[in-house]
């Protein structure tokens, strides 16, 4: 069973902005029924270059529907310029995160948005011009390189999670590995992908840490009779105090590093260091 956040479940059960804008200014169609998910996004843009309305139709799983619904909510009232900069990570984060294997659903949202904007401005989508690497899902090298750069991907498995490439027959695995090595080498010397992402403000960071502790870490520890309290966040240092059965547990250091720190690094910031308040 997938672990979906409450936000994902809410947007899946009660999707917002379902349908099609009749006299849309931009239409974006991505995905296909063979691939298992597809999205049609329609947008309305006013004379001030502001998106006034957005609607969607999606064939796909819960996270595909939720990503589409969330995307339309984010777009309404957004300047076209800002919409152009929206990343798949922004969509996933607005949903409180997606399971790793479902990140491609957020990528589909971003791709539909780009297609809709290109349809509006009359631009040609550069991504579609690349060379198809994964024939099962029709993914081009340009799409793969972009996903590697934008999401700081480090493995072929990551590429599959984000773009679906390699998730079918698996014949393109060698090509994916080559693209990964090339792209990562190209990125070296430059700021890393993680750092390149929009910098998180301290406030955002604390909120996000709090959210992950409350939503994920605490319930898990409580299952074993333990508990955790967030004491302080100072730069990358997160201070917590372990309680309940965790407090006297000889493997509490393992819990701290292997579980708490790993979770926070995965979901908030790669550079976080978790310490115990003694």
């Amino acid at each position: 069973m997938w672990e979906y956040t409450d936000k994902v479940q809410d947007h899946f059960i009660n999707p917002r902005n379902v349908g099609e804008i009749e006299d849309a200014d931009g239409v974006g169609n991505v995905g296909s029924i063979a691939c298992g998910d597809a999205l049609r996004l329609t947008i309305k843009v006013d004379e001030n270059q502001v998106i006034t309305d957005a609607k969607f139709k999606t064939f796909g799983c819960a996270s595909a529907i939720a990503s589409s619904s969330m995307l339309t909510e984010m777009l309404k009232g957004m300047k076209l310029e800002d919409a152009k900069r929206l990343t798949n990570d922004d969509i996933a984060r607005a949903l409180g995160g997606l399971p790793k294997e479902k990140m491609h659903c957020s990528v589909m949202g971003r791709e539909a948005l780009e297609a809709a904007i290109a349809d509006y401005t009359g631009a040609i989508l550069p991504m579609a011009q690349g060379e198809v690497v994964c024939e099962c899902f029709g993914v081009t090298d340009l799409e793969i390189i972009r996903a590697i750069r934008e999401n700081a991907l480090t493995s072929v498995e990551d590429i599959t999670n984000f773009t679906k490439a390699g998730g079918g027959c698996g014949k393109c695995e060698g090509k994916l590995r080559a693209l990964l090595t090339e792209t990562m080498a190209g990125e070296a010397g430059q700021p890393t992908g993680v750092a390149k992402k929009k910098r998180m403000t301290t406030l955002e960071k604390i909120k996000k840490i709090e959210e992950v502790v409350e939503r994920e870490i605490k319930p898990t520890l409580k299952k074993d009779g333990g508990d955790i309290r967030l004491i302080d966040v100072d730069g990358d240092f997160v201070t917590v105090s372990l309680r309940g059965s965790c407090a006297n547990c000889h493997s509490s250091q393992t819990t701290l590093k292997e579980y708490v720190e790993r979770k926070l690094r995965e979901q908030v910031l790669e550079s976080l260091i978790v310490e115990e308040d003694k």
Binding site: T58, G60, A62, K102, G167
Partner: protein
């Protein structure tokens, strides 16, 4: 947070079943008072050995086998691995295995990776199936060669319930001098089996599919069949499978097999009627709904229905809101990106494969539950189709 059994409509019995109350009753003494080791010399332990013998007899009775042909394992997967690896090690000069494209991962993935396990290259013939999930017997006959070490073909398919004619296939294999294994995990307890009258050499079964606990399986090994153990160790199971017996679960499985024999008729009458009502109801009330699998050559409890132009995980999550438990062959439920290998082998089009739902019933289901599901499914599908960009033009 927890969902209690009395709140759910459980139609996922091909995934696992509830432990029958009679089975639990039979097990309890062996989880509490009678904790002795059946290998011990003292009566306290030895009496447990007698209880195991009785369970072995109950299992043999359901299968039409001798108790000496029953080997206890930890699960269906272990039984499958034991049978296939035993056969190929017994015939090191042979390098060919015959199976089908629709096997459970327990057999499929083993056959895909034989080289890793054995360090030798194997040629694997994976027999195709027709659109209704049935096998072409002529192709099967032609696939057998002098190099074939073993045939492994499931008795009933876990996704569609389609039955393969394994008794006839085993006979053909024997005539060619080839060992025959069947993964009968879904079939045992639902269809009559009498191994004495067949040429089947190995048969796998799993306790938790027939109202016994998880963690207990059986491999039937026909007397005289060459055999090399998968797990070595103590003298348990006459050296055919080392490791202290999972006593309580063995007792439970024995009781479950006796119970299955008693309930076989109900399974094939009342449960079949419930399944048929559910299936017919869904096919007639939901437009563009299709049955996957042969209409009659099938388990009595399984209905696999595709709802075109919607995605299975989304359907399951809506059903989950109503506490209806079922499964899907969609890509998204498994973490893989492609829909079920079984439906793809049958050539089910993508429009339908992604939207397949498997309902699998048991003797614990009733008509009220079927009526509830029938009343609620059309709305779920309509709701999701309203979201689907592919539905409008249909």
């Amino acid at each position: 947070m927890a969902v209690l059994p009395e709140q759910v409509i459980y139609m996922d019995n091909n995934a696992t079943t509830r432990i029958a109350p009679e089975v639990l009753d039979a097990m309890m003494p062996y989880l509490t008072q009678f904790y002795g080791n059946p290998s011990s010399m003292h009566t306290f332990g030895g009496q447990v050995g007698q209880a195991i013998s009785q369970a072995r007899q109950q299992i043999a009775d359901l299968l039409g086998a001798d108790p000496g042909e029953i080997v206890f394992t930890s699960c269906g997967t272990e039984s499958d691995s034991t049978a296939i690896l035993s056969a190929i090690q017994s015939f090191p000069e042979k390098n060919h295995v015959v199976t089908t494209r629709v096997e459970h991962p327990a057999v499929k993935n083993l056959c895909d990776n034989l080289e890793i396990f054995t360090g030798r290259k194997y040629h694997v013939t994976r027999l195709p199936v027709a659109a209704d999930g049935t096998l072409d017997m002529q192709r099967y006959r032609e696939s057998l060669t002098d190099d074939t070490a073993i045939v492994s073909v499931m008795w009933a398919n876990n996704e569609t319930g389609v039955l393969f004619p394994v008794e006839e296939m085993a006979q053909i294999a024997r005539e060619r001098g080839v060992l025959f294994h069947t993964d009968a995990v879904q079939a045992v307890g639902k269809v009559p089996i009498n191994l004495r009258e067949t040429a089947i050499d190995f048969l796998s079964l799993s306790g938790h599919k027939l109202h016994a606990p998880k963690g207990i399986g059986v491999l039937y090994v026909r007397k005289g069949t060459p055999y090399i153990p998968f797990m070595n160790g103590g003298h348990q199971e006459h050296g055919r499978r080392g490791g202290t017996e999972n006593v309580a679960s063995i007792i439970g499985l024995g009781r479950a097999c006796a119970l299955a024999a008693e309930k076989m008729e109900e399974e094939n009458t009342r449960v079949r009627a419930l399944r048929d009502k559910l299936e017919q109801g869904l096919l007639s009330t939901v437009p563009k709904a299709l049955r996957n699998g042969h209409p009659t050559q099938r388990l009595p409890n399984t209905a696999n229905i595709s709802f075109e132009y919607v995605e299975g995980e989304a359907i399951l999550l809506h059903m989950n809101q109503l506490n209806i438990c079922a499964s899907s062959g969609s890509a998204c439920t498994s973490g893989s990106l492609e829909p079920s290998h079984v439906l793809r082998a049958m050539g089910v089009p993508f429009t339908a494969a992604h939207g397949s739902i498997r309902f699998s019933l048991s003797i614990y289901n009733n008509e009220e539950e079927v009526d509830f599901v029938l009343a609620r499914m059309p709305d779920i599908i309509t709701k999701l189709r309203a979201l689907s960009p592919f539905w409008e033009d249909k």
